[in-house]
């Protein structure tokens, strides 16, 4: 099974958190709010492109809107393989942390 990179994990989880509205801005916001990290949109899209090649996310174009200067949004959703990868990744983290001092325990 392909191991996810740390950045990939974060972006995949952010896409999940953003739900139906998972395009660039909400994904960036979720990461800032929850992980307290500021990733540039460039980094996010690059990561998404890599995830798309690996088959973990799929994307579709939305309708262009005026507030975006007539540009369309690109919405991302996790594929079944993507969900499987996140699950596997988190489970691995949990197993690695099991039995360690309190405070190091994974969620």
């Amino acid at each position: 099974m392909t191991m996810l990179g740390e950045l990939e994990q974060v972006v995949l989880l952010a896409v999940l958190q953003a739900g139906d509205e998972a395009y660039g801005v909400p994904v960036q916001t979720e990461i800032r709010r929850r992980a307290r990290r500021t990733l540039t949109l460039g980094t996010i899209y690059k990561t998404l492109a890599r995830l798309e090649v690996k088959g973990f996310v799929a994307s579709r174009l939305g309708e262009p809107t005026a507030e975006r200067g007539g540009r369309a949004k690109r919405y991302y959703t996790l594929t079944p393989a993507g969900r499987q990868a996140v699950r596997g990744s988190l489970a691995a983290l949990r197993r690695m942390a099991a039995g360690l001092d309190v405070g190091l325990q994974a969620p």
Binding site: Y23, G24, V25, Q28, T40, L41, G42, T43, Y45, K46, A49, R50, E52, V53, L61, P64, T65, E67, R68, G69, R71, A72, K73, R74
Partner: protein, 883 residues
């Protein structure tokens, strides 16, 4: 609020628009604009702008890595290296095997002959001779009364050696044929008699043993030989013990003193096997100034330019003419750089053949570019998709280059294999007079040349289609049907390529036609004798049993008698010279009633010293007087001779020469009686010979030659009697070698070998070129008919007849052919004069040839139009319009 909303920084936006891959460009910039508006509201415009710039630069920074990710998504293997492209190219070409095979075979057919011809031309014409500092070596020739270079006499060479300070050394070379009297295997050897410093002048040292010294080069001390490497290896199995051993040459013992190095190549005697010292001193009668049978070889001093050495020789010549006015026909000497001079006879033919091969290569290139273009148009969809997915145009170009490289490499490899196969055939058919054929190999410089061709082919076949493909793909990505609009651009390039092919093919066709015409003209030349049903061979009489001239002449007479016994043989004779065989034996003839102020100006004539009835055997016409008779050959007979018409004219003008007295150098008698005039015989070559000749009984000559040509006229079917004739001659004395057994037809044919070869090559090149040009026309028309199916259907629906359709397509094809032919004719007018040296009896711009070639190409073009035209006629309007 009336204030207009703040806008994101335009420059940053432009940067993003330019660098971002197409598929995320909108999403990312849209996100940024959205964020900008929100940030401006909450934290102010300045902060928003700062953030926007930060994001834009971050995205730019990511771009490189991004491309890799995107390429992966576009279905290419990861990495940007050429290796991946090559692998992909192989895969793509494997999916189009017919196309790939056509390209590779076309290339191989062009590269193969080019490789073989370059292999010959490079060492023969261009590569430095295998001597020390070869650029300083030269031949020195005297000048005859017509301004042509001629060989020189020993006394003159001695004067040059003593007085020409510009020359570091001067050597003399005389030709030498000798018989190796080996009881087991007698052989006739070729070689040179050379002054002691010959090899030192060339800068060549023996690989084994020693060089000649001044001691060897004295009268009576010359019985030493140096062997060539090839002869040593072939005859003596490369045994070093041969040094110091003794050979019997012409019945005399010669000591082997040295063996030349392996790469040694003699420019004067190409097939030399043995060298021996000349042993001349100026007091000997045969060392005289008019005894012009030696070639002078000189090394010009390093610090002296050729022009100054030449000037010094001219000055010296003027002094010599002043001192010996009756010994020289004209003032002046030629100092000719060795390589250039040795190859001057074959240079025009070789360069013409090389030029033809390069034309074929160009046509093949155009054809492959054309095929690639046609294929490129069919791949528009593939390119459009890739561009749309973010492939940079440069990336597509690299891909097409890789495909070109794969095709070119395969074609080059196959071409080299073909060249290697053709080369021995080519060498075997080249005239032996071309020097340095031993140095001809498929070697590193030649392979380097092929590598350059391969790279050029890759670039042409890759870049030409890439240009159009990129443009069309961008259009196609922009709007559906865009490809339709711009397909014209590609068609124009293809048409231009086809026109070029036709022009080059015409050039080759005209050249081949001119050469074919020259050869038929040449073979139609009356040689002055009837070569049909004549067998010829060289007979030799050497060794202890032939010490006297009488023995030699007796041997010849017995051979003639034995051959005449054979049923089917009409006549037989011997002569010291054989027409068109390359024998050269000329003497200055003076008439008693036409004394000359300067005997050196006496007209030179070929001397045929004959036994038996040579004139009747060869069927040379007797124009006046009588033929020679057996009585004339008796020792007691009055000295008589026949002269050729041309010789009679140049001495006596219109007067009849019969009964006049002439002086023939080396004849036994001071004066010889002219008893008859015979027709001119082409002796030196069919295309250039002055026809001056003299026939006299060999018994009337000062000595008997140790070899002669035996000619035998048979009833019919000469080849069938060759064996019987050979057996009859061998039965006289089995110890004497019989060589060069041929029919006279073969001798005549061989004298045109260089032209035949040039014709064969030009002919096959022209055929190949026409086939390629026809394929090109066909390809363009077929593509155009396919692209215009809808239009043709519409025309059909609107009432166009099949005749109109035919006219449409054939008209298109013939228009291309017309332009190509026009350009080709202009090219032919400008360039066929380069062939002049090979032409005979036809001008380089012969209107019949030009017209015929043009008509021929039109016919080919019309044939190439046929299939596409037929397809156009068969287009069903309903189906075409419904598609």
């Amino acid at each position: 609020m009336t204030q207009s909303p703040p806008t994101p920084p335009a420059r940053a936006l432009r940067l993003l628009e330019r660098i971002l891959p197409a598929d995320v460009r909108d999403a990312l910039t849209g996100d940024l604009i959205e964020t900008f508006a929100r940030t401006a509201e909450t934290r102010g415009v300045r902060a928003a702008r700062r953030r926007f710039w930060g994001e834009a630069l971050g995205a730019a920074w990511q771009c490189g890595a991004w491309r890799t990710a995107l390429r992966n998504r576009n279905g290419l293997t990861p990495g940007v290296g050429l290796t991946d492209d090559l692998r992909y190219a192989v895969r793509v070409l494997r999916r189009a095997p017919a196309f790939a095979a056509l390209c590779v075979v076309t290339l191989a057919l062009a590269i193969g002959p080019t490789t073989a011809i370059v292999s010959v031309v490079d060492p023969v014409l261009f590569r430095p001779l295998p001597y020390a500092d070869p650029s300083r070596l030269a031949f020195i020739w005297e000048r005859d009364e017509t301004g042509r270079p001629v060989t020189t006499g020993y006394s003159t060479i001695e004067d040059i050696r003593a007085n020409a300070t510009a020359l570091a050394s001067v050597a003399a070379v005389g030709s030498w044929q000798t018989i190796l009297s080996d009881p087991a295997d007698p052989a006739r050897l070729t070689g040179s008699r050379v002054s002691w410093n010959y090899f030192r002048t060339l800068g060549v040292a023996p690989a084994l043993g020693r060089d000649f010294t001044t001691d060897d080069d004295r009268p009576g001390h010359t019985h030493v030989v140096v062997l060539t490497h090839g002869f040593w290896a072939g005859r003596y199995g490369s045994s070093p013990r041969v040094i110091g051993s003794t050979l019997s040459l012409d019945g005399n013992p010669y000591t082997v003193i040295g063996v030349l190095p392996k790469g040694y190549d003699d420019l004067i005697a190409h097939e030399a096997e043995v060298f021996s010292p000349l042993g001349y001193v100026v007091t000997q009668p045969w060392a005289c100034r008019t005894c012009r049978h030696l070639t002078a070889v000189a090394r010009v001093r390093d610090d002296v330019p050729f022009a100054r050495a030449q000037a010094q020789l001219n000055q010296l010549s003027a002094q010599l003419v002043r001192a010996h006015p009756t010994d020289y026909p004209a003032i002046g000497m030629f100092l000719k750089p060795m390589q250039q001079d040795a190859t001057s006879a074959s240079r025009p033919a070789l360069l013409a053949i090389l030029g033809a091969a390069i034309l074929v290569l160009l046509i093949a290139l155009a054809n492959i570019a054309n095929l690639q273009l046609a294929r490129g148009m069919r791949r528009d969809d593939e390119f459009a998709v890739r561009i749309a997915l973010g492939a940079r145009p440069a990336r597509l170009t690299q891909q097409l280059l890789a495909e070109g490289l794969v095709i070119a490499t395969a074609g080059g490899a196959l071409g080299i294999a073909l060249g290697a196969a053709v080369l021995p055939v080519l060498i075997a058919r080249l005239p032996r007079t071309i020097p340095r054929l031993d140095a001809v190999h498929l070697d590193v410089p030649v392979l380097g040349f092929v590598a350059l061709i391969v790279i050029a082919v890759a670039i042409v076949t890759g870049l030409v289609p890439a240009r159009g493909a990129r443009r069309r793909a961008v259009d196609a990505a922009a709007l559906r049907g865009g490809a339709r609009l711009t397909a014209k651009a590609g068609t124009a390039t293809r048409s231009a390529l086809v026109i070029g092919e036709i022009a080059l093919a015409l050039l080759l066709l005209v050249s081949a036609g001119l050469l074919a015409r020259s050869l038929t003209n040449l073979l139609a030349v009356d040689p002055g004798f009837d070569p049909a049903n004549v067998i010829t061979m060289r007979v030799v009489s050497s060794g202890p049993s032939y010490r006297t001239d009488a023995a030699t002449l007796d041997y010849r007479r017995r051979a003639i008698a034995a051959v005449r016994e054979i049923s089917g043989v009409l006549d037989a004779a011997t002569s010291t010279s054989l027409p068109l065989s390359g024998d050269l034996d000329r003497y200055g003839i003076t008439a008693q009633d036409k004394p000359l102020p300067n005997p050196a100006l006496a007209p030179y004539a070929t001397g045929y010293r004959v036994n038996g009835d040579f004139v009747r055997t060869m069927r040379i016409r007797v124009l006046a007087g009588r033929d020679l008779t057996p009585q004339d050959a008796r020792d007691s007979a009055a000295p008589v001779a026949l002269v050729s018409d041309a010789l009679a004219r140049s001495i006596w003008g219109g007067e009849s020469p019969v009964g006049k007295l002439i002086h023939v150098p080396n004849a036994r008698a001071q004066w010889t009686d002219v008893v008859g005039v015979v027709g001119d015989v082409r002796h030196a070559s069919l295309d250039a010979d002055d026809g001056r000749a003299l026939y006299l009984p060999e018994a009337a000559w000062g000595w008997a030659n140790d070899e002669a040509a035996l000619v035998v006229r048979t009833h019919a079917n000469a080849p069938a009697l060759v064996r019987a004739v050979h057996a009859a001659v061998a039965s006289i004395d089995p110890s004497q070698p019989v060589t060069d057994l041929r029919t006279m037809d073969a001798v005549v044919s061989r004298s045109t070998a260089q032209r035949q070869l040039a014709l064969a090559l030009f002919g096959s090149f022209a055929l190949l070129a026409m086939a390629l040009a026809a394929a090109g026309i066909y390809g363009v028309l077929a593509g155009s008919v396919a692209a215009r199916t809808r239009e043709i259907g519409l025309r059909g629906a609107l009432g166009a007849t099949p005749g109109d359709m035919l006219l449409l397509v054939v008209g298109h094809g013939l228009r291309l052919a017309g332009i190509g032919v026009a350009i080709g004719l202009a090219g032919a007018l400008a360039s066929t004069r380069l062939l002049r040296a090979l032409l005979f009896g036809v001008g380089p711009t012969d209107p019949w040839m030009l017209g015929g070639a043009a008509a021929g190409l039109f016919v080919i073009a019309a044939v190439a139009c046929a299939v596409p035209a037929w397809r156009a006629v068969r287009v069903d309007p309903v189906t075409a319009l419904r598609e």
